[in-house]
């Protein structure tokens, strides 16, 4: 049997590096917040001919409309980001685009979000995260008749959330990945991924404990050995589906799929290499305290 728990400092170091990079990025560059949080307008047009973003921008600014960015999302398709605009401004923007591209512009998408929506979304997200964490903590603690199982599972869950948040700050800086309500959804889904794998490993620990008993550390090693292949394989099938979605799926859900992908990988890693080592360390400290 492999003594997985012997190398726990290595696992923690690896997690610390990934989270460290993310936290550094969070402090240095922050997050790129989407219109869901900041308020503002997204407008996507299919136009008659390809044209440089500068030319488009010039034409629109001439109409007195501030443009935050213009991005080419596909052949002949341009995405405009502006501060929240009204209907008249939208009309003049469209006319300006049509004039400069010499043909009709087809509106593919229009999103206009007022400034009051963002703070509300933040509050609701925090509520949802807390409720989910508490519910999972209670469920795991109840199922495994031990609080430390629940707490280590939830700590692994926060590990995954931090990894995701940090990496998305980096992705935002590098490739403009935005934080929107779908990201929030991904974050919550990941909580369940993370705990899904953790429960499978815990279950093995519980089973061996009933059958043979012994030190938590040995039981943990046994359980991690027994579940390693299944964790990897199951993760692979989810990764396949999500990769297909990232590479071939619609543009709207691309970053959502990336977030889920990051979460799947981190969630698979955190079960044997974060949740279980924390459980083992907790157990060891508990025993030392009892001995005194």
């Amino acid at each position: 049997m492999i003594n997985w728990m012997k190398y726990r400092l290595v696992y923690f170091a690896l997690s610390a590096i990934v989270i460290g990079v993310g936290v550094f990025s969070l402090f240095k560059w922050g997050l790129v917040l989407g219109v869901d949080f900041t308020g503002g307008t997204l407008l996507e047009y299919h136009v008659a001919k390809n044209i440089s973003a500068e030319e488009l921008s010039k034409a629109v600014i001439k109409e007195g409309i501030t443009v935050t960015s213009i991005q080419k999302t596909a052949d002949l398709v341009y995405l405009f980001r502006t501060p929240a605009i009204d209907v008249t401004q939208k009309d003049s923007l469209k006319k300006a685009v049509e004039k400069v591209t010499g043909g009709t512009a087809i509106e593919l998408r229009f999103e206009n979000v007022g400034p009051s929506i963002g703070p509300e979304l933040v509050k609701k997200t925090i509520f949802a995260l807390l409720i989910a964490a508490a519910a999972i903590l209670l469920w795991v603690a109840y199922q495994f008749k031990s609080f430390k199982f629940g707490v280590s599972a939830v700590l692994a869950m926060f590990h995954d959330s931090l990894v995701l948040l940090g990496l998305f700050s980096l992705f935002g800086h590098l490739w403009g990945a935005e934080i929107d309500f779908l990201f929030v959804t991904a974050m919550l889904t990941i909580l369940s991924f993370s705990v899904h794998d953790t429960i499978v490993v815990y279950d093995r620990i519980r089973e061996s404990h009933h059958k043979i008993g012994g030190e938590v550390k040995d039981l943990a090693n046994k359980a991690v050995t027994e579940t390693m292949v299944r964790s990897f394989n199951n993760s692979m099938t989810i990764v396949f589906m999500l990769l297909a979605l990232v590479l071939l799926g619609g543009t709207t859900t691309k970053w959502f799929a990336v977030a889920l992908l990051v979460g799947t990988i981190s969630g698979t890693y955190s079960s044997p290499f974060v949740a279980v080592p924390i459980l083992v360390i907790w157990d060891e400290i508990e025993k030392k305290l009892k001995r005194r």
């Binding site: 999103e111 509050k123 899904h196 429960i199 099938t237 619609g250």
Partner: protein, 454 residues
Amino acid sequence: MIKRSWFHSLMLRMSSPAKKVIFIFLLTLAAAIISMPKQIPLNLQLGKYKIEKLVRPDINLQIGKLTIKRNFDLKLGLDLAGGSHLVFETDTSKLPADKKKDALNSVRNVIEKRVNLFGVSEPIVQTSSFGGKDRIIVELPGIKDTKSATDLIGRVAELNFAELKEALPSAIVVPTDLSGADLQTARVSFDNKTGKPSVSLQFTKEGGDKFAKITEKNIGQPLAIILDGQPVSAPIVQEKITGGQAQITGNFTVEEAQNLVIQLNAGALPVPVKLVEERTVGATLGGESIARSIIAGAVGLIMVLSFMVLAYGKLGLIADLGLIIFSLLTLALYIIIPVTLTLPGIAGFFLTVGMAVDSNILIFERFKEERRRRPIPDALEVSFGRAWDSIRDANIATIITGLILWNPLDFSFLNSSGPVRGFAITLILGILISLFTGVVVSRNLLRLLVKEKK
């Protein structure tokens, strides 16, 4: 050692694996028919018969007076079919706290009436209150002219009649007791002289009496028609009007006149509303998203299917069969319930396809261990039994998160936005179905296989 859960006892009570496999087969066949596209063009030559196309049989039954009609089309959300998602905030600041809820409900009802009169199919109008803000969420599938729609919904449309008293340097407006509340119906008409669109009003009996009195009093004087505080027109009263009929001849386009008629018929909003959020997706973008999702889904599915065979050989084939049955059952349930499919919903479906084989993987890995200790049929049963505990506990955790995202009880402190819900519902459904296909379906298929080998 195996704890017999309710699930096991239920399964034990059912008869032999062969019968169950037949049942599963029939279920899958039904699901396949339901989730089939409306028609598949085929050009098959079978001996004498030529089959040109396969047509999906939709339900269209007539039993006595009862008609059961059901077509098996997937319901698509705004981001796939195109349409508008509008959020209005109500200004209830001037109302006492106990009146706010009534006002919000009445705003909702008026907006719903307006939207229905506008002729949008399957609109959704909901209220949402959070942090002291009261909102109305309106979803209009398939709508193209969003400007007209937002004008229609967003205007208060309070109609008033007022006397104009000449007093230099400017006229004084003296409101009368006649208002939009005295209307019976409004309709679009065209002015006899100019041919311009106008709006004809028919007052209630009481309103007609008021109108008669006002016109009698103001012969030779202008009578102003005021909409939301803005005068629309001020015709000179020629004579006392007793029939309870009036006409507004503002400078309307046909569309404006139609909108005003809808607003007057649905009633005025009790409080002003403001558009705070609008999301419109054109039908083109939606269609493209669907096409890309189908390709992505097919590629992902093929990768998962091949992976399972590579990793588990023959057992993998059973899991693959289970996964295909899973996909068909899931699609069929989306149609039957019906679940409105959105892009995040599709992502949820993809995710559950990836997760659906998890129970199989758990069982197969367990089987590899148990096989060393006991004969194959026993090892199979033990693996299923032992793996079930993990599968159940792990999936309940996911369902908990799914329920928080779904927010089925509409708690105001949690999210209730359509796309997030769409994702949560497909996630929960997927997990429930995968429990069935991963445990019941593949277990019985395997039992049958093992039996035949003996």
